[in-house]
């Protein structure tokens, strides 16, 4: 009986090792691994492109931006954590050159009020670009589920990290920016 158990186990073990090795070989051949370079609002993917109008009436095209790091923040004036984190973005945007780190705040204008946006920007001395998502297309492309949501993109527009909710910690933001800058050196 015991001998039978031992014999069965040895057969099972050898078969499992062999079959698992075969599976590794088979799966590597039939389903070769490849880097998914699709456009999607998820870490590791390329960020969805957009071209939106800024508060000043200029056009901002994400594809044309050559900054080493792009901080993309989705916000609305009625959202308290969005309002709370804006001074952090403003402070950090002044610390870095725009060709090094560019902050872009995408306002959910389809759910917001232009007068409130102008007033908020004036009160908080926001100097980095605020773009207006008038029809909600960009928010939908980024699958925004809660405000604020912040994405950090590399120069090639790959999403490096993201944070849903807020307010973001200045230390987290600075740490992630420095990590991307060091990675691109």
């Amino acid at each position: 009986m015991r001998y039978g158990l031992h014999k069965f186990w040895n057969f099972f073990k050898a078969s499992l090792i062999l079959l698992s090795l075969l599976w590794v070989g088979f799966s590597t051949y039939w389903f070769p691994p490849h880097h998914d370079q699709r456009v999607a609002p998820q870490i590791g993917f390329t960020a969805p492109q957009f071209s939106l109008t800024t508060l000043n009436g200029e056009t901002l095209d994400l594809a044309q931006i050559q900054a080493q790091v792009i901080v993309l923040n989705f916000w609305a004036t009625w959202c308290p954590p969005c309002r709370a984190e804006m001074p952090t973005f403003e402070r950090l945007s002044r610390e870095f050159e725009p060709d090094q780190v560019l902050f872009i705040a995408v306002n959910a204008t389809f759910q917001d009020n232009l007068a409130d946006i102008h007033q908020f920007v004036k009160e908080n001395n926001i100097t980095f670009p605020i773009v207006l998502d008038l029809d909600g297309k960009v928010s939908r492309a980024y699958q925004i589920q809660a405000f604020p949501t912040t994405f950090l993109l590399e120069r090639d527009k790959t999403i490096r990290t993201m944070m849903i909710g807020g307010p973001v910690s200045a230390v987290w933001l600075r740490s992630e920016i420095e990590q991307i800058l060091n990675h691109q050196k």
Binding site: I17, S20, A170
Partner: protein, 244 residues
Amino acid sequence: MFPILHIGPLSINTSILILLAGLWIALWVGEKQYPTASPSFSLYENLVLTALIAGIMGARLGYAVQNISAFMSDPLALLTPSPNMLDLPAGALAAFLAALVYGHRHSLKLWKTLDQLTPPASVFASTVHLANLASGDAYGAPTQAPWCIHLWNACRHPTQVYAFILALGVAIFILRTSRYNLPEGFQFWAFIGMSALVRLIIEPFRGDSAILLGIFRQAQFIAWLVLLISLFQISKRIKLIDRE
């Protein structure tokens, strides 16, 4: 994908909620499975909580060490309740060391403790895949299979669902076999081996695999090694059954 749960003005991270619920269910299952004649299960619960707290603290410290210049400007950020500022390897190391110290202080036997924690760990492991499904992490490779799910702008293998079903099978096996009087460490290695096998099977269907030497999937290679170690550890214990 269901990353955020909106309750009134609150936006709750669904995957963290699932993981917390998973931990609670796992500990409840552990307590139910525990033989009443033995010392209190709270000893093991405290071990888990000690490791968890030490793990979180270690993960935060690890992140701070890696980003020391940012933390020097605001040391109080160490206390910020943010899940983004965590370093997993540092957290795992801190949790392991804390568990080791706790176990030594309370004279817990290594294999017996691991066996005791294996049933709850197997239950918790299956909820991790549900958390991944909610957040959209551990996503599958694009496919034309009729059961694909639309995620990240493609129809993909629902790898989180595959992993959940297999992990649930592992948990059921572990819970059923925990009734038997098996050699010490048997349950633990059976769980580790089966979990490695699950990863080995699922990995080719995933769309986020890290690649080794330009051809192989890193996770598959590691899972195969872990499976090998587990099988040899189980063999040692089967020989013990023979001797007895």
